[in-house]
Assembly symmetry: C2
């Protein structure tokens, strides 16, 4: 069976064990070129018997091919990026490509490090969240000479391809729906993340539409850390004590929105009659709350899928031009917390 010394097995070991040249062993193991059924079986038997695991490092160096796709995202902990990954995985599973993920914690310097690190493995493509990168990062992406898809956001100019939604527009549309429903005294709650450009753009779009209608946000609050649900609850309480005449609360994400919703229900406040609520993301997780929070789907899975498809298509047919700039359009779901009219 398997060896006992510490040296990992090489092709040569399989070659010797099977009496077939290294070259032919290599061909069998990769299913490349014609090999007679007889030798093929001999080789496979020997490889399996020894417990041989090919060395991709050597293979990649020799062939100048690496079936890795670097996926660079800000965070794993907020439920939105895992869904993007799921979409990417689904698509890449039908290809030779393998995703490798790196996390930046929303820090440009860390993004730069992670990108450098990943590029040093010479991946076949890059999927990276956002359109805002340090100059050095952009330079690396441009110089890499591989397909690059920037995801989540389409408010800006990509290095190469992009797939996402317009967060600015998402903010505008939510503002429009809120105004249309008759709400006028609006409070905002979000994360204290100056580097979350997508949240910022939503906020900008939101206030822009309000302003165009002569309205300004009456109160705002930001949080960081802790359980989003609990923060939503606390902040909502604090805000309503401070500004009791608000008639709408817009949250930068569904989790804090849900916290707010639970608080209002506790307080027996009429939602959406007295106060309306809306979040952002379309988190499936929250189905099952006593009321459905109004929200807007960020199209996370689709974004992952399309990004992966673009990479795969580019690599399969480098010549064929591929749809490069994809803007998905999320729709509002009114749920039970935003009057419909």
């Amino acid at each position: 069976m398997s060896q006992d010394n510490k040296r990992p097995l090489t092709l040569r070991d399989v070659s010797e064990a099977s009496g077939v040249s290294e070259m032919t062993v290599s061909r069998v193991l990769r299913n490349r070129g014609d090999v007679s059924q007889a030798t093929r079986e001999k080789v496979l038997a020997a490889a399996k018997d020894l417990g041989y695991v090919p060395n991709k490092i050597a293979g990649a160096l020799a062939s100048n091919r690496v079936n890795l796709v670097a996926v660079i995202i800000p965070s794993l902990s907020n439920m939105v990026f895992p869904e993007v990954l799921t979409g990417i995985n689904q698509v890449l599973e039908d290809t030779e490509l393998q995703p490798v993920v790196g996390v930046t914690d929303y820090l440009p310097e860390k993004e730069e490090r992670v990108l450098y690190e990943m590029l040093s493995w010479r991946p076949s493509g890059v999927i990276i969240a956002g359109l805002e990168h340090s100059e050095a990062s952009r330079a690396m992406l441009e110089a890499a000479g591989i397909p690059v898809v920037e995801i989540m956001d389409t408010d800006g100019k990509p290095v190469d391809a992009m797939v996402g939604i317009s967060h600015r527009r998402a903010g505008r549309e939510m503002a429009a729906a809120i105004l249309k429903a008759g709400y006028r005294r609006i409070g905002f709650m979000g994360t204290k993340m100056p580097l979350d450009h997508r949240a910022r753009k939503r906020f900008e779009g939101f206030t822009e539409t309000l302003a165009r209608n002569g309205i300004e946000i009456e109160d705002r609050a930001f949080y960081s850390g802790g359980s989003a649900l609990a923060k939503g609850r606390e902040m909502t309480q604090a805000m309503l004590e401070r500004s009791p005449d608000l008639d709408f609360l817009y949250y930068s994400n569904d989790m804090i929105g849900a916290g707010g919703l639970l608080y209002l229900l506790d307080q027996k406040i009429d939602v959406p009659g007295q106060i309306g609520l809306a979040g952002f993301n379309g988190v499936e997780l929250l189905q099952g709350l006593p009321r459905q929070l109004a929200t807007m789907d960020a199209c996370r899975k689709e974004i992952g899928q399309m990004a992966a498809r673009i990479i795969a298509a580019r690599l399969a047919e480098p010549a064929q031009p591929v749809e490069n700039h994809v803007t998905l359009t999320p729709k509002i779901s009114f749920g039970d917390t935003l009057k419909r009219r």
Copy 2:
């Protein structure tokens, strides 16, 4: 500035641009060995100017060192593994090591494929969830000749090291607390995942303690897919309609437990007086619910941290023996849904 042809830059390019030998360039870029300040600066300037990104593939092959740690987990979508990853990341960030994650979807065959794939990159260590693996997987882990830490579970025999909690014991302790509080007519709800061995062990431990006290579960139900919160709500309703005299509901995870809790509150059922509830995991996310669900912390972050520390220590001091079998002991938090006595 950067090049425009498609060939990636090599050390040789930097060498020529700086007039320093490849070897010395290599030393500068890796901070190895003594290099005069003057040449160091020349080299760094040239590298930066060209936009050189080292080729780790070649480096790894030549040095026979790969600073990658394979992390193999069943899922990214249920909030528990991202937390484990966070713990791993925290610790590895202070080292040269880089985690690379693979996802198995709770499928042994997929675990085997992923493991094979990862081992073919010759990582320096493996962190893998669970103690149950296919024979082939175990063989690969044993033959790899690198530190292997099996995490989450300690009810079984690891290939090498393990860090986790005893899920069987967790189940037993929860059963004991429930009985002690005086509940007797108990229902169980969980996921339909025959391959989630940890959930199974918790369930076994749970029923074992009940049986030892002459009690059997009166009703049970399993779900798959969908929003756990919504499922918890639906299943709880269905179960109580079917078995209206239950006085306790034990859930295999906090999310469905929270769904159940919300349902009972809606129905104005007295919790924990008429019916008690408990889940499992200690999900921080749920703080902010109107009541705190009784639960048991799975020590996710600590597990990730300790596993990473074991790998790091082993690689730093291969001789030094390292604490190999770590069993953490979660405590029950009673919250507001399990009578305390």
